[in-house]
Symmetry: C2
Amino acid sequence: MRDAEMYIPTYDDMLAAHERIKPHIRRTPIRTSCHLNELAGAELFFKCENFQEPGAFKVRGAANAVFGLDEEKARKGVATHSSGNHASCLSYAAMLRGIPCNVVMPRTAPQAKKDTVRRYGGNITECAPSTSSREATFARVQAETGGDFVHPYNDPRVIAGQGTCSREFMEQTDGLDIVVAPIGGGGMISGTCLTLSTLAPETKVIAAEPEQADDACRSFRAGHIIADDAPKTIADGLLVPLKDLTWHFVSSHVSEIFTASEDEIIDAMKLTWKHLRVVMEPSSAVPLATILKHPGAFRGKRVGVIVTGGNVDLDKLPWIQ
Amino acid sequence: MRDAEMYIPTYDDMLAAHERIKPHIRRTPIRTSCHLNELAGAELFFKCENFQEPGAFKVRGAANAVFGLDEEKARKGVATHSSGNHASCLSYAAMLRGIPCNVVMPRTAPQAKKDTVRRYGGNITECAPSTSSREATFARVQAETGGDFVHPYNDPRVIAGQGTCSREFMEQTDGLDIVVAPIGGGGMISGTCLTLSTLAPETKVIAAEPEQADDACRSFRAGHIIADDAPKTIADGLLVPLKDLTWHFVSSHVSEIFTASEDEIIDAMKLTWKHLRVVMEPSSAVPLATILKHPGAFRGKRVGVIVTGGNVDLDKLPWIQ
C-alpha cells in the first residue's frame, strides 16, 4: 500500500528544508585529528552533529517537519513513538515553535530519556514494551490530539531535513571522496544519498552497521528488506529496520555497507573521545570502527564521518566495568 | 635576582606570537549550550582549547617559543621539566619544527603522559619524584644538550603565546563581559590579562581555582605570592604555584579569584561532558564550577570560559567508582 503512494523527497526539498531549519539548528563544526588520520591512513573529517543543542542530527528532520506545518496543523502539534533521539529532537523542535509534542514511549525506557523529552516540553504517554501496545497507544494518542505523525525516519520531510547535513559538510570541507554514516532505520544515510547524488555524485556513500544488528547489510546483499529479530548491540540508536522510503535510497545510491563487532565499536568510541575530545554515543563510533577494520577501502582518501549523536549515559561507559 | 631582569611581554609581543603560531595551531571553535545557560543564568561561551591537536592551550605558548628561536638556537632544541600538558605540547611544537625536545619527568609520571611525549618525538629523562632530583637532572640535560629552556608558564614567550587565545575569543564572540579561566601557575590567566587589558579593558578577567589548591587565591588576598605545601586536587593541571611574571599579571589585572570544592568540580565536569558533549579535563571544569557557585557575579552577563585541556584518563573518571 505505502509503496504505491510513496513520495520520494527531492534535492529541491532538501534545499527548502535547509532554508526552513537554518534559524533553528546549528551549522555544526568539523573536527579532525592528525593521530586518527595516521591510524586510518586516510584524511578524516568528523561532522559533529552531537553538538546540536539536543545532541543529535535528528533535530534537522524534526525541525523540517515541525516548521513545515501550516498554522492549522501546527496548532494540533506533532506526535511520534520513539525512545531515542528522535523523541527529544521532535520535542525540542516543537518547543521552539511553541506547539504540542506527544511521544509514546515504553515505560521501560531509561529515565534520562524521559527527563530529556520532558525538559523540552514533550508529553509522554507510556506503553508496554511491545509493538502491539505501542501501536494501540499511539493510535489512541493521535486520535485524541490530532497531532501530525512524524516518523523517526520513514518520512520524506525527515529525510530531506537530514540531507542538509551533507550539504554543509561538503561546503565546510571543499569536497570529500567518501562520506560514512551509521545506518539503523536509514534516515541519515537516505538524506546523505539524496543530497550527494545531486551535489557530488562522485562522492561515495558508505554505511556502517553493528555486526549484531546487520539487517541493512543483509538487505543490501539480498536486494530486499530483511528485518532483524530482536537485535542486540551497544549501538542502541541502530536497532530499527529499514522501511520503504529509506530502502529506496539505500538500494539505489549506497556503495557499500560495512559492519563492526561490539569490541571494535567500543574501541573506536574510546579513540574518538581520547583524540577528538568529543563525547559521541556508541552508534556514532561505528563508522570509525569500520574504517579501521577495512583500511583498504579508505586509504589515502578524504573521508567524511557523520557523528550522529552525543547522548550517552556517562555513568555506564562500555569500557569501564 | 629574576625580578630585576624580568621582561614583561607586551600586547605587540602577543600580536607577533599570533602571526608566528597561526600556521601551527588551531583557531579553536566556541561551544554553547542553552541548558547550561539556563543553569548559570548567564550566556556562556566555551572556547575549546582541548581541541588543539595535542589537547591543550599550552601548544600556543610552546609554539611561540619554538618558532621564535633563531636557526642556531633551534638546532640545539628546547628543554623543559613537566609531567603535564606543557611537556606534550612542547614536544609537539618541536616536532613540527623538526628540532629536539628534551623533557625531564619524574619516573612516577603516568605512562600515558610519557607515551604522548614520545609519540611527539620528545626525549624523556626520568628523575626521582623530588624537586632536588628534578633540578639536578634538568641542569645536567640542559648542559649536555644546550637546549633552550622553555618554562611551562613563567616565560614571556609562553605568556604572549597563551594571550593569543583571548584575541580569537573576542573576535569569535563579538565581545564578552567576563572571561574565566583556571589558574595554576598562571600562564593562561596572564596571557588573558595581557591581551584583554589592551584589547578590551572593560572585560573582567576572573580566575578559577580548586579550594584544595587555593594558593593563587590566598596570594591575591595577601598581596604577595604564597605557595601551597603539597596541594592535592583532582584538577592536576593546577598544582603549581605562581611565579614572578605571572604574579605581575594576576596582581595587576585579575578582578577576582573564585574557588570550588572537589565535588563541585566533578559535578561541573560531568555537566560539560553531558551538555557540551566535550571531553575536558578536571582543571577545565573549575571555571563552570565557580560560575554555578557564585551566580550573582555572572548573572545576565556574556561570560567566556577557556576550556584549557582535554587530556583525561578515560579509564578513571572521577564520578565512576
